[in-house]
Subunit: 329 residues, 2 copies
């Protein structure tokens, strides 16, 4: 299960098995989406499969995830998301009303994100060879001229900003899956970030890195960036926005909020001179109201993420081995 978790085992699978098998140059970039040229257009192209359990959860559904997850991967290249494909793998016997509800959620999420589902496919497998509905979406977007956002562009001096409260998606899924209640209802943050990225790009096209910390959470995202760019990252643990209900739930469940999945947040590496303006632009947008500076990019300890703890000490934030929570997205 760890190989699907977005942590070290997933990275090993891509670097050790898929990249050599496919050859080519683009997959090795390891960004959320590939950026390529076709017919004179500069395009972002990305895919994700979705196997979340349960199909419907507080704050969203597999249909919302399938749109927002792929749209966000495109947006993390600075692209304006435009078109989606969608493949359903149905388990024999799943109720048509469930399929209909998923498709309607997907359609509504696409309209909200300003993208169009233009091509699709449906396969059916026998009962016991699936789990109701699995989805895959692939997305296409247009990268504006002058925009070059990718993990390799992080440089010492960059300010690290997160767009809001972390841990909501993973905790929402776990609370409904395990039937837990934490006093306050916890909803997934599942949302499309295309508009938020546009607002940031309106301030400056020179954003260095954007990443949506999904599987593996903020901890995995920062490790991937540090490794790709050969830089160190220092996080001020006290500055990371963890809502009290997430902190409480993580304490009960034995989870570290830094590794819990988000589906409507982004982390940005921004040149120091642009950081205040970008932060202001984030906070002026409904999806970035809780944005905060959480750390900086440094020349020391390349490839390693270090947290300054609330007590003045430091600790290494490792790449998680797998996902703490299976089938989170």
């Amino acid at each position: 299960m760890g190989h699907g978790g977005g942590g070290a085992l997933s990275a090993e699978l891509v670097a050790g098995l898929f990249a050599p098998a496919y050859g080519g140059r683009t997959l090795a970039g390891l960004a959320d989406s590939a950026v390529l040229e076709l017919g004179g257009a500069r395009l972002a192209f990305s895919t994700d499969s979705y196997v979340v359990r349960p199909l419907f959860f507080p704050g969203g559904s597999i249909g919302d995830l399938a749109v927002n997850g792929t749209v966000n991967d495109l947006a993390m290249s600075g692209a304006r998301p435009a078109y989606l494909s969608c493949g359903f793998i149905l388990e024999e016997g799943v109720e048509m009303a469930v399929v209909d509800r998923v498709a309607k959620a997907l359609g509504a999420a696409a309209r909200a994100a300003g993208v169009e589902v233009v091509t699709g496919d449906t396969k059916v497998v026998e009962a016991g060879r699936g789990d109701g509905v699995y989805l895959n979406t692939a997305g296409l977007g247009l990268v504006p001229a002058g925009v070059d956002i990718r993990p390799q562009r992080a440089v010492p001096g960059d300010v690290v900003i997160v767009s809001g409260d972390i841990g909501l998606h993973g905790v929402a899924i776990m609370s409904v899956r395990e039937g837990l209640e934490f006093g306050v209802a916890i909803e997934s943050d599942c949302a499309a970030l295309g508009g938020l990225v546009e607002a940031m790009l309106a301030v400056t096209p020179d954003l260095h890195v954007l990443r949506d910390p999904t599987r593996g959470g903020l901890g995995a995202a920062l490790n991937e960036i540090a490794a790709a760019a050969g830089v160190g990252v220092v996080v001020n643990e006290r500055s990371v926005p963890v809502p009290p209900e997430v902190a409480n739930a993580c304490a009960v469940l034995g989870l570290d909020p830094l590794y819990v999945a988000n589906e409507g947040k982004l982390v940005a590496f921004v040149p120091r001179g642009e950081a205040d303006a970008v932060l202001a632009a984030l906070r002026a947008h409904p999806l970035g109201a809780g944005a905060a500076v959480i750390g900086e990019c440094v020349a020391e300890h390349p490839g390693t993420v270090v947290a300054r703890t609330a007590f003045g000490g430091t600790r290494v934030v490792d790449l998680p081995m797998g996902e703490q929570l299976p089938r989170i997205c």
Copy 2:
């Protein structure tokens, strides 16, 4: 199971559930791929999921299918296939050697087809919630200027050409799945058709319709074209190239070769004046050596496919309800 079979139930699902849920205009075109404009480029975009059982079969594997199936959907719009995404859904416990073998087959097929796998994703589900490996690929291609190939362009007078022997893929899968032997080894025709379509376009850009008769076979493909264009189709049953080993296997298995899936064939609707030249171009290509004229497009019985039988009679070739063979691709 029938809803995944590429027949009437699949069509009902798209028209009655997915198209209304997503809205938009492009899905309603019901071509093998969507053709769209982005950044001034005219692109074809398509997706398919692959759940074939077994993963490896005579003549190919799920990895070959995942490349060739999506590449062919692009080629059926006249596009030159360029880029693929690939999503794996792994069942917990599948051997890494199997995943590696699938990925290598996929990489080799991509190189053979002249496309690059540029973005991917891996999810893992619990044992008993999958079947080893499911794949999804989405593909991107560039549509040459002046090319407009889609089911709606079929007109009375068009000549209907098939590029070679039908039924090989479905019979190859069934023979290995059921442990049947038919004297002669039957291999899947799984192949990428981008080069064959380029050879046809070199003769004339004015091809009206191309379709690869996969799930539901030639019978479903012709019915879909007849319905989309509001034309009748007449097939001369004696002219349809059915190899004797396929005919024998179909007799044993109780199948109609017209409905058996192909993975390396195409059917073309071509203006009468271009038919001889297109047929010659097909026959000059290794993947089109067995090409044959099998019928014509007529103004009578719009939406209906009629076969002239070997005995001089006629019969209606219905859209099949589902797939005769589940999980064929």
